[in-house]
């Protein structure tokens, strides 16, 4: 697996660029990842990213859009505004988590 430098720190990523190690993530890296996919982080963005991080810790897998709505409390419509076109994958990328596996 490749190692790349993000925000001055070497991090392990998969062949697509998603972080592969939960503990290598920090907010500075998240900001940098967001910038690379042209997303400017606001409080609303952070709320989702923090939910995804906490949820992954307890569930062992990345929350789907559905779960971000039902458990995280951010409606799907808003997710599409904050992370246009492909919210589930973009949220996971910035949160330093694998792509969600669930179908819904």
């Amino acid at each position: 697996m490749p190692v790349i430098e993000i925000a001055g720190k070497p991090v392990n990523v998969n062949e697509e660029g998603f972080l592969t190690s939960y503990d290598e993530w920090n907010e500075e890296i998240a900001r940098e990842l967001a910038k690379q996919i042209e997303i400017e982080m606001t409080d609303e963005h952070w709320k989702i990213i923090k939910f995804l991080r906490d949820d992954f810790k307890t569930q062992g897998e990345t929350a789907t859009s559905r779960r971000v709505q039902t458990v995280g409390g951010v409606p799907v419509k808003e997710q599409f505004v904050l992370f246009p076109k492909k919210p589930a994958k973009k949220m996971a990328y910035i949160a330093g988590l694998p792509k969600p596996k669930g179908c819904v």
Binding site: I4, G17, I37, V76, K89
Partner: protein, 172 residues
């Protein structure tokens, strides 16, 4: 160290479109179209769903909460989690449809997959478009006021074909 790798989330202006025709009103056959529509929207694909014939029940307010599942005629039906088939001869017993519907709903809910009306709410929230079939509306004497409020219109098959020019199409 490898130079930067950024995932390819596709072009912001992708013009990929998906048209799904939902023609079935059985609970089990309502889901494939909804799951695919939801997945397509999550991938940034513009998605239009056309409800026709029995699929009309999915958007009819008085029926959308009461879709049912019957194992009758489905030879692939086996006991959940087992390879053993349920004999077709026991399918028509009274209460079988209610029991099978209840079990299917439980299995779907366990996966955190919403019920059909909720699922359509999510699809519309994600930018999906719902259209109703003119002939089905006429056959059932239904108008816009009997349908979900987010159905965009009752249109003919030709209108739907025209508006989905260039789209990939699924018939379910």
């Amino acid at each position: 160290m490898t130079p930067s790798i950024v995932p390819n989330f596709g072009s912001e202006n992708s013009d990929r479109k998906l048209a799904i025709i939902c023609s079935k009103g059985n609970l089990d056959m309502a889901y494939p179209g909804l799951i695919l529509a939801n997945a397509a929207l999550g991938e940034g694909v513009e998605t239009m769903i056309f409800f026709t014939f029995w699929g009309f029940d999915m958007i009819t307010k008085s029926r959308m909460n009461d879709l049912q599942f019957s194992p009758a005629g489905n030879t692939a039906m086996h006991l959940p989690g087992h390879d053993m088939h349920i004999p077709q001869s026991v399918m028509p017993v009274p209460g079988m449809t209610a029991m099978a519907t209840h079990m299917l709903k439980k299995q779907i809910a366990a996966l955190d997959v919403p019920e059909v009306p909720d699922f359509l709410d999510q699809i519309v929230a994600a930018g999906g478009h719902l259209w109703a079939c003119r002939m089905s509306a006429d056959m059932n004497n239904l108008t816009m006021k009997e349908l979900r409020d987010d159905v965009e219109g009752i249109i003919s098959a030709s209108d739907f074909i025209e508006m989905t020019d260039g789209a990939q199409l699924l018939f379910i």
